[in-house]
Amino acid sequence: MEVFTTLNGIVAPLDRANVDTDAIIPKQFLKSIKRTGYGPYLFDEWRYLDHGEPGMDCSTRPRNADFVLNQPRYTQASILLARENFGCGSSREHAPWALLDDGFRCIIAPSFADIFYNNCFKNGILPVVLKDKEVDTLFAECEVTPAYTLNVNLQAQTVTTPRGDVFTFKVDAFRKHCLLEGLDEIALTLKESDAIRDYEKRRGKEAPWLFSTRP
């Protein structure tokens, strides 16, 4: 996993609440057995005017000019500014994979859906929760500022605006550590192999039916 320390990135605003993972990456693209290649299909039903299918060449598809991410000023964005309950719905990790593949490393919103929030950390994306008012401020500034850029510092847990406003955010110590170091969580857990085996031994006596392999 790619490390995340600081990011100085252009912001793209997506001013809708309850953006669900079906919208982020529609179901037909979930048939791929790979982790990459989802970027062109990010927000497919909003981004294009035709119906998308896996494997399509997106460079020739008709684009929806009204969709904010299609504006040239946002094509280089690496920070997505969103509204409450972003990423609700299914557990598909294809959603953060698509965002990452399209260049997003950070998403800022007043709240996230639980599974999506967790999935972001597994893929080197930092989801940042800011207060409603702070998010409102960022939307307002973003709208009137060309190439609106934020500085996100994971170590310090801050978001700094071009005017110098500093907003702080919370993040779990363990998730922060993994993201800063780009750690393989499975390798970390396997260091606990003895503890897991001890648990299984003890638990197997208490509840043997949990370890039987019938029928």
Binding site: K31, I33, R35, T189, I196, Y199
Partner: protein
């Protein structure tokens, strides 16, 4: 201090608590399907890892499988590759699979409880958000992403932070014709799609205890639509009677020992919850969603809300966008909405009790002339078999419904079953998001009886007056 049901199950699964507030939690059961697992198996291969406990995992294809002409296999080559990948991965890593030709194949969340793979007091995960379903049996059941699917395969554990616990009590009796689905939609309408965010929810109260296991599964299934980590119901006689004699349930001495443990799986009298909501079952009517989020829901006797009712500008804009997408107008009575298609099935409402409820409504009747397709899709091969033994399939067919093979089907339209742009559907599934049932499709979530009645009349009706 007393413990909550969630606390009890959680504590029994702690392998290690870390200083940073995270917990290494042991996972008893891992259900696997074709969509969220291929990259996890690939990860194992790339890192040279083997499953920690292959016997704890059970797989079945559900999202992509066709619901008709099964003998012809899967015609969509991309879907076929994914289902074949599951088969190959299970063979390579020694994981039990109920394949497409196995009568036990079906939607993971129907198959788990049905086979006794889901047991009270378990921790259970699956790479699917509707894993919350299994909490109906008094289990902690959590939907996870593909990275965590790989993590559980490799270590049998998850690194978790303990959520807060909310109790939602529904007291009294549900009116006739009102089901667990209506209860779920009603609750989501009241607390919102983020109302459960950061919480594990325990559903309690006499109305919840009065639900069958199927009803409890429907309720817990929809917990994720309220944004919660998981939903749970305490173990009682209904739970234990349901589990008894299931193929993977314990037997003999193990059964007796298990039951003694399971009977403790309820919140203590003096347990303290971080948050509590109380609702009166008698006030819950049949519910119908009108928009593109499960919280956009009203009683069947009501009308679509007017924009002045929105609590803030963000909600108002969401409502306006939803109305435009749904091609509906504020103030329109729900019963004036006509539908084109009807879908009865999914992990929410694809169980035998759901089909019995629908059959009660349609017996001796025919679907309305404006209904292009009405389909019934079993949650599993065994649900289908049982329904056929009870003669339900005949009644559905006589009324004009299509009787299909088991799978997720038009709940998310990954297979050939989908809405065409602009089509409107009465659906017993769980999500009415834009494009969920097919690009441009318009979904109204309802109970099986309400969907059946909509098929007969061609529009929504109050089944309390049926």
């Amino acid at each position: 201090m007393g413990k909550t049901l969630f606390d009890k199950v959680w504590e029994q699964h702690i392998v290690r608590e870390n200083d940073d507030g995270s917990t290494l939690l042991y996972i008893d059961r891992h259900l696997v399907h074709e969509v969220t697992s291929p990259q996890a198996f690939e990860g194992l291969r790339l890192s040279g890892r083997m499953p920690w406990r292959a016997d704890a995992a059970v797989a079945t294809p559900d999202h992509n499988v066709p619901t008709k002409h099964r003998d012809q296999g899967i015609t969509d080559p991309v879907s076929r590759i994914q289902v074949e990948a599951l088969e190959k991965n299970c063979r390579e890593f020694g994981i039990r699979e109920f394949g497409m030709d196995d009568v036990r194949q079906g939607i993971v969340h129907v198959v788990g409880p049905e086979e006794g793979l889901t047991l009270p007091g378990m921790t259970l995960v699956c790479g699917d958000s509707h894993t919350s379903t299994h909490g109906a049996l008094g289990a902690i059941a959590v939907g996870i992403g593909t990275s965590e699917v790989e993590h559980v395969l490799a270590t049998q554990c998850l690194i978790q932070k303990k959520p807060k616990v909310m109790r939602i009590r529904v007291d009294g009796s549900l009116p006739k014709g009102v089901t667990g689905k209506d209860m779920a939609l009603y609750i989501i309408g009241r607390i919102g799609t983020a109302g459960g965010s950061g919480y594990a929810i325990e559903f309690a109260g006499s109305a919840v205890r009065g639900l069958s296991m199927e009803g409890r599964m429907t309720l817990c299934n929809m917990t994720i639509e309220a944004g919660a980590r998981c939903g749970m119901v305490a173990v009682d006689d209904t739970t234990i009677a349901y589990v008894k004699n299931r193929p993977f349930a314990p037997e003999g001495q193990d059964w007796d020992a298990a039951v003694a443990v399971w009977q403790q799986l309820h919140s203590d009298e003096e347990a303290v919850f971080d948050r509590e909501h109380v609702f009166d079952a008698a006030e819950i009517p049949p519910m119908v969603t009108w928009g593109t989020s499960p919280e956009m829901v009203v009683p069947v006797t009501a009308s679509i809300p007017i924009m002045d009712d929105a609590r803030d500008e963000t909600q108002r804009e969401g409502w306006l966008r939803a109305l435009e997408y749904m091609n509906l107008s504020a103030g329109k009575p729900i019963q004036d909405i006509a539908v084109d298609k009807v879908f009865i099935g999914s992990c929410t409402n694809g169980r035998i009790e759901d089909f019995r409820a629908a059959v009660e409504i349609i017996k001796g009747r025919k679907i309305a002339s404006n209904i292009k397709v009405a389909m019934v899709v079993s949650g599993s091969g065994l649900v289908k078999k049982q329904a056929e033994e009870e003669g339900l399939d005949e009644i559905f067919r006589e009324a004009g419904f299509e009787w299909r093979e088991p799978g997720c089907s038009m709940c998310l339209a990954m297979n050939a079953d989908r809405l065409e742009p602009g089509e409107r559907c009465a659906s017993t599934s769980n999500r009415n998001f834009e494009g969920r049932q097919g690009q441009g499709g318009r979904t109204h979530l309802v109970s099986p009886a309400m969907a059946a009645a909509a098929a007969i009349t061609g529009h929504f009706v109050d089944i309390r007056e049926w």
